[in-house]
Point group: C2
């Protein structure tokens, strides 16, 4: 479902290390490497909990029936994946467009009081539900937001009513949120022990909000499943392995920044998800490709100059979608003052594709190796496959660079300082 | 109005080149350097056209009175500045929040048919106006969008009605859009000859959409004016010069990526504006600091790991706002399962500030020099000052690195290829 085009890197004569890649795949698949207690996502598309999956679908139906809005409370991996898939398969304008599924708002991913207070205004007096997502239940950002929204729900619907509207995605047995959920009788879903936050979009963490938006999560899982089978069958020849090898090769050649470029604004949050996945998995021990993203063609009139002609430390990966949902054609104009009649009758998809090809060629000329991934838009299977593709390639790429792709020790540094400054007991 | 805190770089013993900085300032202010025909923005806050400024304010009032939505058509510098200021001073949720000014949509900055078609749905049958912004009137992206919206306006209101709702910001005398505007009788505003797109937010390019959103553009200009006076009085000791010197010093030390970090989601598009300003001004001739941005604290759970512990090629600039518009306090909870009662009664601004200080200290420990800029939120003067601060520092920094900060030759490469692929006459 994902076509990998490496012709845009040939000019740079890459010599990817297939032996190292094979070793990394083996390490990942057999669970023999660093962080191997967090590789549950590898087999997840085959071996997920079918009973919980059905409960997710039922909970989504319940929320759709009784709520005009869903507030998803979570930070990092607990919101990026869901938001990414909803924006890509529905729209970045999802909330503003007419539909028969609830508006979906993401909260508890920062500490801006202004953002939170605006969210309360936007929800207004509409019926809403909350999906709080936290392994521990004590992470500062989501815990603050959950206190506020829980209080609001209890005021609005009473304790019994609120219970019907709070869905907790958390540890299966332990932690503050699990304890509270058991005590209050909230329906709970599981953040698996062996799947880290940034690899969790295909667990309940991502699937409940995604299902609420009316996206077919069966198809999403099926796509991931197919991609997994293909990767395991093809090994180092698979698209995911090729992508991993290539980016590591270019990294060693000094291409220390990877730009992920898409030609649809709907992809923006998938790029944010990708940045967490790769940045947090690979950026450690003083190494790692710096992940950045651009939204094209808009950013050709912003970062385009740098990509074309700035410091030569860039490699680029393009995600391009076939088959647009809607076609808009360029109108003809008698006077043709803008000189655009040569495009009259052309669809914007057609022009967008030519822009992509033109940009690809220009960047290659400028010394930037360009890899292109093509897939279908508005196709849940393809998006499920893309998620698994990026996850698998990330694990392989991380092992190839010699790091543990499944920990994030650096995230603790600011937390410790913050707890100390805030006077948290024990710090 | 902008407080610059360099204490977070002292550990790295920077030795900025004051002589080179002074030379760069002189070159910029006296207009003796490369690209000196595009330095009109330097004196703009003092010497702008007052009569046109009054016409901008009158046009904004007219649009506010007869339109529920304004469609701003432009790409690159023709939309980033306006969108940035509106999101920062109003809100990234501006369109979704209750208000008595029109919704503002940005179009013609890409080639996605899906995005355009969704915009048509969102406007629906509401009354709207268009501000088309293009020096030439022939840039592909905005020209396509303008054909579509002009056709729509003429269908809806007739030729005479449409004339009252189309505002063209374009060249003062020449070009396809100027010709059309004259012929059709549209009100026009000027993209000055001596101000490039990325430095144009304080001309009609940015000011008309900004004024439509109900922002006091007099105060915005006054802030830029004050900042200009201060910089010219203080020279190399000014905050802008210090920032320019410092980032060039660290660049030479191998800190090739600058991360702009803010702790308010409302800042996101200011960071996009900054990326264009710096990336396009400095990224050429094989050199330039790569500009990236993060939204904190959310991205501490995404790019945070990399910043703390990845490849050591980063320098960081923080923009932090004092005085939040609204205060939200952490509620108390009897059971305190989440352990958050130590924060009960605290405002989120208080916690956000501690998070900033904690993160700053963690990143310095991790080997990242951190510069902090502080200013007031919801203060037009401060935002005007910030704009001028970044523009001036960019010009100085660009000259210090030996490039022409006012051209963008690399942007033509993809265009030439694209016109060829699309069969444009003459290519």
């Amino acid at each position: 479902m994902i076509k990998l085009d490496l012709t845009g890197t040939q000019k740079f004569a890459p010599a990817p290390d297939a032996a190292a890649c094979k070793a990394a795949i083996d390490t990942l698949v057999h669970g023999t490497g660093a962080g191997n207690d967090f590789t549950g996502w590898v087999d997840l598309p085959e071996h997920y909990d079918r009973a919980e999956f059905a409960r997710i679908q039922a909970a989504a139906k319940k929320i759709q029936a009784n709520s005009k809005a869903l507030v998803v409370i979570g930070i990092g991996g607990s919101y990026l994946g869901a938001r990414a898939v909803i924006e890509l398969l529905k729209s970045p304008n999802y909330n503003a467009l007419p539909k028969n599924t609830p508006d979906i708002y993401f909260a508890g991913n920062g500490i801006s009081g202004e953002a939170l207070s605006e969210l309360l205004t936007m929800i207004g007096d509409r019926d809403f539900s909350v999906n709080v997502i936290s392994k521990s239940g004590t992470t500062t950002e989501p815990a603050i937001a959950f206190r506020i929204f829980r209080e609001l729900l209890e005021k609005k619907y009473g304790k019994d009513g609120a219970r019907e509207r709070i869905f907790a995605t958390t540890d299966k047995a332990r932690g503050a949120l699990k304890t509270l959920a058991t005590q209050e009788g909230y329906e709970t879903f599981v953040v698996p022990d062996n799947v880290g936050g940034r690899y969790s979009v295909l667990t309940a963490v991502g699937l409940l909000p995604i299902a609420c938006a009316g996206i077919d999560i069966d198809r999403l899982m099926r796509g991931a499943q197919e991609e997994r089978r293909q990767i395991l069958a093809e090994g180092v020849s698979s698209a995911a392995a090729q992508y991993a090898m290539q980016r590591q090769y270019f990294y060693k050649q000094g291409k220390k920044v990877e730009i992920l470029a898409a030609y649809e604004p709907a992809f923006r949050f998938m790029a944010e998800w990708w940045k967490q996945l790769y940045g947090e998995s690979e950026g450690k021990d003083g190494v790692g490709i710096f992940p950045a993203s651009v939204d094209l063609t808009p950013d050709l009139h912003s970062m385009g100059q740098y990509i074309q002609d700035g410091e030569r430390m860039l490699q680029e990966t393009v995600v391009f979608f076939d088959h647009a949902r809607t076609e808009v054609r360029v109108p003809s104009d008698e006077e043709n003052l803008d000189g655009l009649n040569y495009l009259a009758g052309r669809t914007m998809s057609y022009i967008n594709e030519k822009a992509m090809q033109a940009t690809r060629a220009a960047h290659i000329d400028g010394g930037v190796p360009v890899t292109v991934l093509r897939l279908e838009k508005d196709n849940e299977e393809a998006v499920g496959a893309l998620i698994y593709f990026f996850e698998f390639a990330c694990g392989v790429s991380g092992y190839m660079s010699g790091v543990n792709p499944f920990n994030q020790p650096g995230v603790e540094a600011y937390k410790k300082n913050m707890f100390h400054l805030l006077g948290k007991p024990g710090y």
